[in-house]
């Protein structure tokens, strides 16, 4: 009997708290979105599961000696996992569309206004009692507007690790919601005529250009923004392995097994930061609101920039492609294509949107570097 009593006292029922239960519900919600709604499942399945695991009472999976503790400290605290993901993403990215039309980089730059405006907004929130965001916190939150998971996780782990869970969840959730968030903004800011603009076909790009492109990006980073070197460097390494054509076995491994293994652990580690005491706070609410704001402003800035460029440029630019500047590769480019087809069923914008789309990845890595250089 004593044994059964001891066993009872070791059960979860006897140790469950309401906050932990709420966070387990949040984890289940993420799993639901991932599995039933197919929202960024590659990340939300491990994050949601990690959220459940970390909130299981008694098991202490996120405390020293627990699996999630090790995974977090080895992979996130050190910055290693987001950098490996970035290397894999680099190996998966084709910059042809951007090299063929480099002006698209301006759209990737404009969309980063979502980040910096949100940074200001996060500090504004401090006027509301209960919010006390530092500049570090505000920067880490604002990077959600970069629409780039690994960049957000890397920056948050450096600037504001206690907000990492909420920031990562917001980033991936809004990336999944791109098809819902962006179209109304895009339609609101553009006329049907603008949305129908056809763009000239892209020129062919040589192998040499594709090999030298990542090296040039690295050179500029080295010269002008070395704080972005870890992120941009690993991204460029992945892309160079892809384009060089001489290390295909390394490139394939970076695109497949290595990124898969890292994704599982990264997701679990991010989920482990969804502990009740860290997530069930008024800050999380603020982060969710600010994240949505960041995405919206970024989309709008991209579209506006494209409208301006269309006016001053001789080559027509469909303003919709500006929305792809937030990155969220390749979802945002697909959304552009879809909204464009509504106005002109013969106008396929997908490849034209890939340029600003990958420019947005560089843009937010650059923005992260600036924040690291100035705020850290």
């Amino acid at each position: 009997m004593e044994g059964l009593l001891n066993l009872w006292q070791a059960t979860g029922v006897a140790n469950l708290s309401f906050p932990a239960l709420s966070m387990i519900a949040v984890g289940c919600g993420l799993l639901y979105l991932a599995i039933a709604k197919k929202f960024e499942p590659l990340l939300l399945v491990p994050i949601g599961f990690g959220a459940i695991l970390t909130n299981i009472p008694v098991a202490a999976l996120s405390e020293p000696g627990g699996l999630l503790y090790y995974v977090y400290y080895i992979g996130i605290d050190s910055g290693i996992f987001p950098l490996l993901i970035f290397m894999g993403v680099g190996a998966l990215t084709d910059f042809s569309a951007l090299i063929a039309n480099p002006r698209m980089l301006l759209l990737g730059a404009a969309a980063q206004f979502g980040i910096f405006a949100t940074l200001f907004g996060a500090i504004l929130l401090n006027f509301i009692p209960g919010f006390e965001f530092t500049l570090q916190d505000a920067s880490a939150i604002a990077i959600i507007g970069g629409a780039d998971g690994p960049t957000a996780i890397f920056l948050a782990s450096k600037l504001s690790p206690e907000l990492l869970g909420a920031i990562a969840v917001a980033a991936y959730s809004y990336m999944a919601l791109v098809p819902i968030i962006q179209p109304p903004i895009m339609r609101w800011l553009t006329s049907d005529e603008e949305r129908s603009i056809a763009m000239p076909q892209l020129r062919a790009v040589s192998k040499r250009e594709k090999i030298l492109f990542p090296l040039m990006v690295l050179a500029l980073t080295l010269l002008f923004l070395p704080a972005a070197a870890p992120l941009v460097g690993m991204f460029c390494l992945g892309n160079l392995m892809r384009e060089s054509g001489v290390v295909d076995r390394l490139s394939n491994t970076a695109q497949n097994e290595l990124i898969n293994i890292t994704t599982i652990f990264l997701g679990l580690a991010v989920g482990s930061k969804l502990a009740a005491d860290q997530f069930l706070t008024v800050e999380t609410l603020g982060i969710l609101v600010l994240g949505a704001l960041a995405f919206s402003i970024g989309t709008a800035s991209g579209v506006y920039m494209a409208k301006i460029m269309n006016r001053v440029s001789s080559n027509p630019i469909n303003p919709l492609v500006g929305a792809a500047g937030v990155s969220a590769v390749p979802m945002a480019a697909r959304v552009v294509n879809k909204v464009g087809l509504e106005s002109n069923p013969h106008n396929f914008l997908l490849m034209h949107a890939m340029g600003p789309n990958v420019a947005g990845v560089l843009g937010s890595a650059v923005a992260a570097g600036i924040l690291l250089a100035l705020v850290n």
Partner: protein, 81 residues
């Protein structure tokens, strides 16, 4: 720290950040254009949208459905242009 002071810093950061991002990516535009001129000295050309055949074409990190959608779009694009 006073919120007003923080706000000033945030505004400054906003300005510096956007200027920095635009500067960096603008330099990149010129660099890419220079690169293209340099590379134009006779090299085999590839179609920009043609994915190079990969050893494991089905696992490219983006959901297969996306790839299918993109491929469909590309082929339609070609038929229509």
């Amino acid at each position: 720290m006073e919120i007003s002071e923080l706000l000033a810093q945030a505004a400054n950061l906003m300005l510096t950040g956007m200027v920095g991002v635009f500067l960096f990516l603008s330099i990149l535009i010129f660099a890419v254009k220079a690169l293209s001129k340099f590379a134009a000295t006779g090299q085999e050309l590839e179609q920009p949208n043609v994915k190079k055949p990969s050893a494991k074409p089905t696992s490219t990190g983006v959901p297969a459905a996306h790839i299918a959608a993109i491929s469909a779009a590309v082929s339609q694009f070609r038929q229509n242009n």
